[in-house]
C-alpha cells in the first residue's frame, strides 16, 4: 500500500455527507460518487515499474578478431506489470450508504468509504435522530400521499388556521412521546427514566416503528405549509403519511410536495457536498473534517459535565449522538 494510489485511498476511508437532489435514486448517487472516486484514485501517479533481470545475447569481438556471443544481464521493466496490461489498481470501492432517501425526497445522505462502513453500522446502532423539512399542501388527497400521485379527493381548507394546525401537531407529538417511552424499555417509575427523559436522551431499544421526537410548523400560508420534523427509524413514506394524517385531523386533506433531510445524526447541511463537489479532493477534505469532529466529540463525551441548553435542541442531539457513536467504536 505504499503506492500513491494506496495512500490516497487510505485518506478517503471514513464517513461524509452528500446532498441528494430530488428525483434521483440514491443508488445513482452512490454509483456516481464511486466512479468519481475511482477515477481520481486511479489517476494518481503509477508506482515505479518493476524491473526484471533478462539475459540478452550480445555479439562481441573476440581478441583474435572472431565474433562470439555472450550473455549480458540487463534490468528491463517487466511488461507484465505495465499499467496498460494490469489495468487500474482499484476496480471498485466499498461505498456504503447510510439511512436511505427515496427518489422523491432530497437532502443529506451519509456515505461511507472502505473502513468507514464499520462506522456506518455504529451510526445505525446508536439510534440517532434525523431532521426533515416537509412541505405540504392542503386541499388534495392522492393515493401515494405525494403531489405526483393519482388524485383521489379534493377538499376545502378555508377553516384551517395556524392555531388549529399547531394543536394537531402537539397532539401527534404527544402520542409519539408516549410511544418513545414504551419502546425505550425503561421502568417508568424509576429515577433512571426520569433522568434520561430530563436529559432528552431516551431512545428506543432495538427495532421500533417510526417515532417523531419533535414536530413544529415552519410556515403556514394556506394552502401551503411546511413542517420541521425530528424523528427516529423513519422512512420518507412515513413522513408523507404524516402530512396526510395532519390534513385528515384538520377535517381536510393534504399532500406532501417535498421531503428534505437537513440533518442525519452528527451530519448537518453545512457539511453536505453538492453535485459539483463529488470529487476526490473535496471528499477527502470532508472526510478529514468529519474525523476530526468525531474525535472532538469523543473527548467532550469523556468530560464529566455536559453543557446543556434548553433551547439548543438540535445541537444537543447532534453532540450526544456523535459521542455515543464515537464511544462504541
Amino acid at each position: 500500500m505504499g503506492t500513491p494510489a494506496g495512500r490516497l485511498y487510505r485518506r478517503l476511508e471514513g464517513l461524509f455527507a452528500v446532498y441528494k437532489p430530488p428525483g434521483v435514486h440514491w443508488k445513482l448517487v452512490r454509483d456516481t460518487v464511486e466512479t468519481n472516486l475511482l477515477k481520481g484514485i486511479n489517476s494518481a501517479p503509477p508506482p515505479a515499474p518493476q524491473l526484471q533481470v533478462q539475459f540478452l545475447p550480445e555479439r562481441t569481438e573476440g581478441p583474435s578478431g572472431s565474433t562470439e556471443l555472450t550473455l549480458t544481464a540487463t534490468c528491463l521493466p517487466a511488461l507484465a506489470e505495465h499499467p496498460r496490461v494490469t489495468g487500474p489498481r482499484f476496480r471498485k470501492l466499498r461505498v456504503g450508504v447510510g439511512h436511505r432517501l427515496d427518489a422523491f425526497s432530497s437532502g443529506l445522505l451519509v456515505l461511507a468509504v472502505g473502513q468507514g462502513n464499520k462506522l456506518l453500522t455504529d451510526l445505525y446502532n446508536s439510534h440517532v435522530t434525523r431532521d426533515y423539512t416537509v412541505e405540504g399542501e392542503f386541499g388534495m388527497a392522492t393515493d401515494d400521499f405525494s403531489n405526483t400521485g393519482r388524485l383521489i379527493e379534493r377538499t376545502t381548507y378555508d377553516h384551517i388556521t395556524r392555531d388549529k394546525l399547531e394543536r394537531v401537531l402537539a397532539m401527534i407529538q404527544g402520542a409519539n412521546q408516549k410511544a418513545l417511552l414504551t419502546y425505550s424499555n425503561v421502568d417508568m417509575s424509576s429515577q433512571e427514566a426520569y433522568e434520561l427523559a430530563a436529559k432528552g436522551s431516551l431512545y428506543p431499544q432495538g427495532k421500533s416503528p417510526p417515532i417523531v421526537t419533535g414536530l413544529r410548523c415552519l410556515h403556514f400560508e394556506p394552502p401551503h405549509f411546511s413542517l420541521e420534523i425530528q424523528c427516529l427509524h423513519e422512512t420518507q413514506r412515513f413522513l408523507c403519511r404524516l402530512v396526510h394524517e395532519v390534513g385528515l385531523e384538520l377535517r381536510s386533506t393534504s399532500v406532501c410536495t417535498g421531503v428534505r433531510r437537513t440533518r442525519d445524526g452528527p451530519f448537518t447541511l453545512q457539511m453536505a457536498l453538492t453535485r459539483n463537489h463529488w470529487t476526490v479532493p473535496d471528499i477527502a477534505q470532508a472526510i478529514q473534517q468529519s474525523r476530526s469532529s468525531w474525535r472532538q466529540s469523543a473527548s467532550r463525551a469523556s468530560l464529566p459535565q455536559h453543557t446543556e441548553s434548553r433551547g439548543g435542541e438540535q445541537g444537543r442531539h447532534g453532540t450526544d449522538e456523535g459521542a455515543r457513536v464515537a464511544m462504541s467504536d
Binding site: P21, L69, A80, V85, T86, R260, T274
Partner: protein, 402 residues
C-alpha cells in the same frame, strides 16, 4: 550455462523449428520465441484460452508435431497439461511426419554459440484468464502495449484474447497500422482505436481500402474520414452497402442536402455504426410526442445530431420540464436545441435559482432576457456571475434547499 544444458532437448527441438522455417541466424532469438508462442496459440480456445484441440481449427501436421514435442519437455510432473491427453486417432499421421524429419536426439552435442542463444523462459501456462502471462513472450502483444492499447480492457471481451494471440505482428498487424496511418490517424490515436475495436486487425486490407474509397467517393474530405475513423472505431468494419444505407437514410428521412448529411455524419460518426431503429423512434418522438414541425426537426438534428441517439425517456422528460414548467414555446426550443442535450437536473437547478432571484425571463421580446443557451451551456461560475449576478457560494447554498 548449466540451465542451457538442462533444457538442451527442448532447444534442439526449437532449433528444428527454425530450420523448418529457414530463418536467418541473427533474428533467430525473436523468431524462436514467436514460434513458441505461435505453436501455443494454435490451440487456445475462446474465452479461457484453454488448450483444447477439438475447439480450434486443426493446425498443419508439422506444426502439430512441434506443439507436442515442443511442449513436452516443459512439462513438469505436477502440471496437468491437456496436450498429453491427445486422442489416439492423430497418432498415425504423427508417425508419418516423424519419418520425414527425424527428431533431434536429446544426447546430441551442440556448440557453445548455439547454447548461448537458447532462451530458458518459464513455460507458458496452457490456459489463463489474463493476457498478462503472454505479454512478454508474444511479439504482437508487446508491440500493441507499446502502441498504447489497453490490454486489460481487451481481455475482458469474449474471443478477443485468443484472437490477438493468433495474430502475427509482421503479417497481420503491421499492414493495418500503416493503412490507418495512411488514412491520416496520429500515432496517439491508434492505441485507443484498437482498444475499442480490435477486430479491425482481422479485417482484410482490401475491404478497409474499399470502404475508405467509398467514403471518399461520397466526397468526404480526407480530414473528415480521419476524424470519423478515430471517433467511430467500428466504422471501417461495416460493409460498403451498410454505410450506403445509413447515408441514404439520413438524407431521405431528414430531407437533408448531401452537404448537410456529410456534416452531420462527420460530427457524429457514431450514427453510421449503430442501429437505425432508435433514430427512427426518436424522429417519431419529435414529430408526434413533442410536436415539432418537420423543418424544426431538421434544424434540431443538424444543430445537435446527438439528440438522434439520445434516450427517448430523457428527451421527453427534459422537453416536458422546459415546455410545460418553464413555459418555453417550440420555436425557441428549436432555436436553442442544446437544451435537449443537457441534464434535467442542471436545467431545473438553474431555472429555480433564477426564479428565486426573479430573473427567470425567457421571452426575447421583453427586457432582462435570458437565452436558453446562456441558461444551459455556461459553466457554473460564469453562469452565476454573468446571468444570475450572484456568487457561486450562493448558488451552492441554494442547491441545498431544493
Amino acid at each position: 550455462m548449466a540451465s542451457a544444458k538442462l533444457c538442451r532437448k527442448c532447444a534442439g527441438l526449437l532449433w528444428g523449428r527454425t530450420a523448418l522455417a529457414s530463418l536467418s541466424v541473427p533474428d533467430t532469438l525473436l523468431s524462436v520465441r514467436a514460434a513458441a508462442v505461435q505453436t501455443h496459440t494454435q490451440s487456445w480456445s475462446f474465452t479461457t484460452f484453454r488448450l483444447s484441440h477439438s475447439a480450434s481449427p486443426e493446425p498443419p501436421a508439422a506444426e502439430r508435431r512441434l506443439t507436442e514435442r515442443g511442449l513436452l519437455p516443459y512439462d513438469s510432473p505436477g502440471s496437468n497439461c491437456t496436450v498429453t491427453e491427445r486422442p489416439s486417432p492423430d497418432s498415425p499421421s504423427l508417425l508419418e511426419d516423424l519419418d520425414i524429419a527425424p527428431p533431434l536426439s536429446p544426447f546430441e552435442e551442440i556448440s557453445d554459440d548455439e547454447a548461448v542463444q537458447i532462451v530458458a523462459t518459464p513455460p507458458l501456462p496452457p490456459a489463463s484468464t489474463s493476457l498478462r502471462d503472454y505479454v512478454s513472450q508474444s511479439e504482437t502483444l508487446t508491440k500493441l502495449v507499446q502502441l498504447g492499447v489497453d490490454l486489460f480492457k481487451l481481455e475482458q471481451r469474449p474471443n478477443v484474447g485468443s484472437m490477438l494471440l493468433r495474430l502475427d505482428f509482421q503479417q497481420d498487424v503491421q499492414g493495418r497500422l500503416l493503412f490507418l496511418k495512411d488514412v491520416g490517424l496520429q500515432d496517439s490515436q491508434l492505441g485507443p482505436l484498437i482498444t475499442h475495436n480490435p477486430f479491425i486487425l482481422t479485417e482484410s486490407l482490401e475491404n478497409l481500402q474499399a470502404r475508405v474509397s467509398y467514403l471518399k467517393s461520397k466526397r468526404f474530405s480526407s480530414e473528415a474520414v480521419c476524424r470519423m475513423v478515430s471517433k467511430a472505431p467500428y466504422l471501417l468494419n461495416f460493409s460498403v452497402q451498410r454505410l450506403d444505407n445509413r447515408l441514404g437514410f439520413f438524407q431521405k428521412h431528414l430531407g437533408l442536402s448531401p452537404h448537410k448529411t456529410r456534416d452531420i455524419v462527420t460530427r457524429l460518426p457514431r450514427l453510421m455504426c449503430g442501429s437505425l431503429e432508435p433514430v427512427k423512434e426518436n424522429l417519431k418522438v419529435f414529430e408526434l410526442e413533442l410536436g415539432f414541425r418537420p423543418n424544426e426537426i431538421q434544424h434540431i438534428a443538424t444543430r445537435i445530431p446527438k439528440v438522434l441517439t439520445a434516450n427517448k425517456k430523457r428527451l421527453t422528460e427534459t422537453f416536458d420540464y422546459v415546455h410545460n414548467t418553464m413555459g418555453i414555446p417550440h420555436s425557441l426550443i428549436a432555436k436553442f436545441p442544446q437544451v435537449l442535450n443537457v441534464r434535467l437536473l442542471r436545467i431545473r437547478e438553474r431555472h429555480r435559482f433564477l426564479q428565486y432571484l426573479g430573473k427567470a425571463q425567457y421571452d426575447p421580446a421583453q427586457s432582462g432576457y435570458v437565452s436558453l443557451d446562456q441558461l444551459v451551456s455556461l459553466p457554473d461560475a460564469v453562469f452565476c456571475s454573468e446571468v444570475a449576478s450572484a456568487t457561486l457560494e450562493d448558488f451552492e447554498q441554494f442547491q441545498k434547499t431544493l
